[in-house]
């Protein structure tokens, strides 16, 4: 790795001979850059990571794209006509039973809270996803930021040298990029589609390291003259974007799980969803406030039980490994792991042994940061057709996530003369599941 003094040039000679032209511009950038590198290095070691008392809070959203069945996950109803073939099992939290398809999670429910009474009303994929991602119904003329952009904005550092909102998905369906809406492009997600590494993170081989750094320094020099007497947030965002480039490029290795010891990789195993969870853990450890890992495609209109047997096994393994790993590293108390999707699935089992879209009574889970582990909130009636107790909507789930992270959910962004609270007007967090 380059030393701070020669950051603009791979060779010490070049660094010396061009010190004049680099001037103060180079030195300043090199300083912040070096600081972050130290941090990344330190965090490589799990013990060190544990010793550094982290204040930075993070979210890992496990997005169950297509809509997972609450019956086969967090709200089983064995023996009911709607219950399906699977039974429920005891968990490490007294009173809480979950589906037998999640045996590993059952042993870890002491970290997890379940919300079983979501009535979000919107039962189409696009509308439901947009609702759950932003915590409110789309409003004409306004594009709301999603939970990732809000977390990036509220928990991230403006000049962060690591990505602050990363979005990954697995299947070719249900790919939603996420949006920073009116918060602006600074908080837009870095989106990974078919690759494990974001676009444009790696220096082209045709350009030498020396040239790459020199031109950034030249740019800095020209930019300084231009910005000196011009006072503009928009220009500042340009400067910020370029100042983050080299830091982000160095964070490329965060996306490389080969950097992990064999023992850790073995725990996560060979499947993509779990490996992406490992990347998420690496990012969070380095200071990324929000990572979304989407697992698709839960939309089991046919063969619901086959589908869930496979997908739940994947979820159970990935999520429990992730929680263990976070806990072992002392990261769990500051990392909130959420399972959520656009909606749940119908109590009625259709002729193809499937369950259809259902937004009137479904579940999600929260684990780790700010969460009262082993708790659950709300109840559905015995067959799961409606919410029997503690009905909440998307806005309440949103407010709860924000509160768990210590973000004031009533804080307002001003858009023109219009105050927009972080969670929708009047939404209250669900205190019962918060620590």
């Amino acid at each position: 790795m380059a030393q701070p003094g020669s950051i603009f040039c791979g060779s010490a000679d070049h660094g010396l001979s061009r010190r004049g032209f680099l001037g103060a511009a180079g030195a300043a950038t090199a300083g912040t850059f070096a600081a972050d590198m130290t941090r990344l290095d330190g965090l490589k070691n799990p013990l060190l990571a544990g010793q550094v008392k982290r204040q930075q809070k993070s979210v890992i959203l496990l997005w169950l794209a297509g809509g997972a069945s609450q019956f086969e996950t967090w709200d089983p109803k064995p023996g009911q006509s709607t219950g399906g073939p699977y039974s429920k099992i005891k968990t490490s939290a007294n009173d809480v039973h979950i589906s037998e398809l999640l045996p590993k999670m059952a042993q870890r429910m002491n970290h997890t809270a379940i919300i079983r009474s979501i009535n979000s009303k919107i039962g189409d994929h696009g509308g439901g996803a947009s609702l759950m991602e932003t915590g409110r119904v789309k409003d004409p003329g306004l594009i709301y930021p999603d939970i990732g952009a809000i977390a990036a904005r509220e928990l991230g550092r403006a000049d962060s040298q690591v990505p602050d909102y990363v979005s990954m998905y697995t299947s070719t369906e249900g790919r939603r990029k996420g949006t920073s809406g009116f918060l602006g492009a600074r908080y837009a997600p870095m989106f990974l589609s078919d690759k494990q590494i974001p676009d444009n993170m790696r220096r082209l081989e045709a350009i030498s390291d020396v040239d790459h750094k020199d031109r950034a320094a030249l740019r800095d020099l020209l930019s300084k003259r231009f910005t000196k007497a011009r006072h503009s947030e928009k220009i500042n965002s340009h400067t910020t974007a370029y100042s983050r480039v080299h830091g982000l490029m160095s964070s490329e290795k965060l996306f490389d799980i080969e950097q992990e010891p064999e023992s850790v990789r073995a725990k996560y195993g060979p499947r993509q969803f779990a490996q992406q969870c490992l990347i998420a853990r690496r990012l969070v450890e380095a200071g990324t406030p929000f990572v979304k890992v989407a697992r698709a495609w839960w939309d089991s209109h046919g063969q619901n039980f086959e589908t869930h047997r496979e997908l739940c096994a994947d979820l159970d393994h990935a999520m429990s490994t992730l929680l263990d790993d976070l806990e072992e590293r002392g990261l769990l108390e500051n990392t909130l792991v959420v399972t959520l999707g656009e909606f749940g699935r119908t109590p009625k089992i259709n002729a193809s042994l499937g369950r259809d879209h259902f937004a009137n009574a479904w579940s999600c889970s929260l684990s780790g940061c700010g969460v009262r582990g082993g708790s659950f909130y709300g109840k559905t009636e015995p067959e799961g057709n409606t919410v029997a107790d503690g009905e909440v909507g998307a806005a309440e789930v949103f407010a709860t996530i924000l509160e768990a992270l210590g973000i004031d959910h009533e804080k307002e962004y001003m858009i023109g003369s219009r105050p927009i609270p972080l969670s929708d007007f009047g939404a209250k967090p669900i205190k019962e599941v918060l620590a």
């Binding site: 032209f21 020199d214 031109r215 020209l222 007497a229 928009k234 480039v245 003369s417």
Partner: protein, 545 residues
């Protein structure tokens, strides 16, 4: 409380009626001097300092970006700098406004505005806007085309994409029309009377919505209108109300169709259903067509203040980076214009001159306030932007930036031929350039109130091979290729700065960069590339300053 609101509403109506009756400067005074008069008046009253006027280099750059959608070529720069200072500015403005560049650029700007908040880049809509700007079609006519055009006319049909794209969401149709054509954001008034703005009641929101509620998309993707149907809404106190066809200033249109009996209703319902399912039948329309009535009402001389003020304010915002009413979708009594007389004068002028947007753009481009510097060198804090005392740096639109990158990276001598060639040839070249920007458009954010440069853009310029393979290619037709052939590093540096930043380097820049080039003498082609990269990615190119 109710009485208080009523009073305010009435006052507001009066203000509307008196739009052109206030004591405004004479209508025949040149627009640029009227602009300077009103802006300087506020500056003097508040004893505000202003930034200096820009030099000829920044002036041609700013004008070419605003009127042609790109930076000037080196050839244009040299011609301008050596022209007669007394007349060159006005001549350039008129030349650019008559150029094919203006047509493309003005079209692009209108497209971004009218497709808000999405980014569809709809081809039919783009073609319509090109056709309309080619003939400088009056804005009120374009407004009619887009909201209530004739489906049987090729161009008006394309204009109706405005409605067609929003036809599935009544809220979008209502809100986007109010925002984009009238400068009014009534969406807050959907669920309750606007909490901060007395003007906007639920009556206004649902009144506006009534004009669209009968619109539907046929199977053939034509726009139909139903034969009956009213909007009902529930007030915050729980009372159900029927909305009227009401414009923003309270003007009400009556549906004078005789009340339909149940049988006719059923007949019409069946017809609408058929139109939605069968693409073979011809669309038939009712006598009473709410969208047409909205256009009539909004364009009527008693009500046209919204339409006129909004477009004036939008164009002003485009040219200066800030609206006289700011933000531009908040035109109401709680958000006063910074220069009410100026807004009124320009609105009156625009209406009286047939909604000629070119005329408006020309007037702003010739004003002294337009050519103020964006630099503020004083130790005191810069004055509030609403004085327009210092220019506001404006991020280039995706197409402006893409086009400027393409212009900057051609070898500069290439542009000399166009100074003498016939205009028709330039039109072809310009169209080619415009088409080439299609490949770059997506890489950049659209400027708006919350604009920020995305880190993706910086990463794209830093590591994407298109930058190296295209913009920085060292073949003879490119800037880098041209610079490589110049033996003298000083000359190369001057040429690079002129091509990208429309100016010579300062002494400090020259010294630092020559020092860099000297240190890289073992591989000077690579070094030149890095200098060009630094210029292309610098804020000086990224912003209109």
């Amino acid at each position: 409380m109710f009485r208080a609101c009523l009073t305010v509403a009435t006052t507001f109506l009066c203000a509307q009626v008196s739009l052109y009756a206030t004591d405004l400067l004479p209508a025949d005074q040149p627009m640029e001097s009227v602009i300077d008069h009103y802006v300087d008046d506020l500056i003097k009253t508040n004893d505000v300092q202003t930034a200096s006027q820009i030099d000829e280099h920044i002036l041609i750059r700013r004008l070419t970006l605003d009127l042609a959608g790109r930076i000037p070529t080196t050839a244009e720069l040299h011609a301008f700098v050596s022209a007669d200072p007394a007349t060159r500015r006005a001549k350039l403005v008129d030349k650019l406004l008559a150029s094919p560049d203006f047509i493309d650029h003005h079209r692009n700007e209108l497209q971004v505005l009218l497709e808000y908040p999405d980014r569809r880049n709809d081809k039919d809509f783009r073609n319509y806007l090109l056709w309309a700007t080619e003939q400088n079609r009056p804005w009120n006519t374009m407004f009619r085309d887009m909201l209530a055009g004739d489906e049987n006319d090729e161009y008006q049909k394309a204009a109706l994409q405005f409605v067609r794209h929003r036809a599935k969401s009544l809220d979008d149709l209502t809100n986007d029309t109010a925002v984009l054509f009238f400068g009014v954001n009534v969406s807050c008034a959907k669920c309750h009377d606007h909490p901060l703005v007395e003007d906007w009641k639920q009556d206004h929101y649902y009144g506006m919505q009534s004009f669209f509620s009968r619109t539907f998309l046929t199977k053939k993707q034509s726009l139909g209108e139903k034969f009956y149907g009213d909007v009902k809404f529930t007030t915050t106190s729980g009372v159900e109300k029927q909305a009227q066809f009401m414009f923003l200033n309270g003007s009400v249109v009556k549906d004078d169709t005789p009340e339909l009996d149940d049988d006719s209703r059923k007949k019409y319902d069946a017809l609408v259903k058929k139109l939605q399912q069968d693409d073979k039948i011809e669309v038939s329309y009712p006598e009473f067509r709410p969208r047409e009535r909205l256009v009539e009402t909004a364009s009527h001389k008693d009500n046209d203040a919204f339409l006129a003020r909004n477009i004036v304010n939008r164009i002003w915002h485009r040219m200066t980076g800030r609206g006289i009413v700011d933000p531009p979708d908040q035109l109401h009594s709680e958000n006063s214009p910074s220069h009410p007389e100026l807004l009124d004068w320009l609105a009156r002028d625009t209406v009286e001159n047939g909604y000629d947007l070119k005329r408006l753009i020309r007037g702003i481009a010739l004003s002294r306030i337009y050519s103020r510097s964006s630099e503020w060198n004083s130790a005191a804090a810069p004055p509030s932007p609403h004085y327009f005392a210092v220019a506001i740096p404006r991020p280039l639109s995706p197409r402006q930036y893409a086009m400027s990158l393409l212009v900057a990276t051609r070898n500069p001598p290439h542009w000399e031929q166009w100074l003498t060639k016939p205009a028709e040839d330039w039109k072809k070249e310009r169209t080619n350039l415009e088409n080439a920007t299609n490949n770059w458009d997506d890489a950049f954010e659209i400027p708006g109130e919350n604009f920020q440069v995305a880190v993706d853009e910086a990463l794209f310029f830093s590591n994407n091979n298109r930058i190296d393979n295209d913009l920085l290619r060292d073949s003879g037709d490119r800037l880098v290729g041209h610079l490589k052939k110049l033996d003298d590093p000083e000359a190369a540096l001057s040429a690079a700065f002129e091509a990208v930043n429309s100016r010579q380097p300062t002494d400090d820049e020259r010294k630092a960069i020559i020092e860099y080039l000297e240190s890289r003498r073992e591989d000077s082609p690579a070094a030149i590339k890095q200098v060009v990269w630094a210029l292309l990615t610098g804020p000086e190119l990224r912003f209109n300053h």
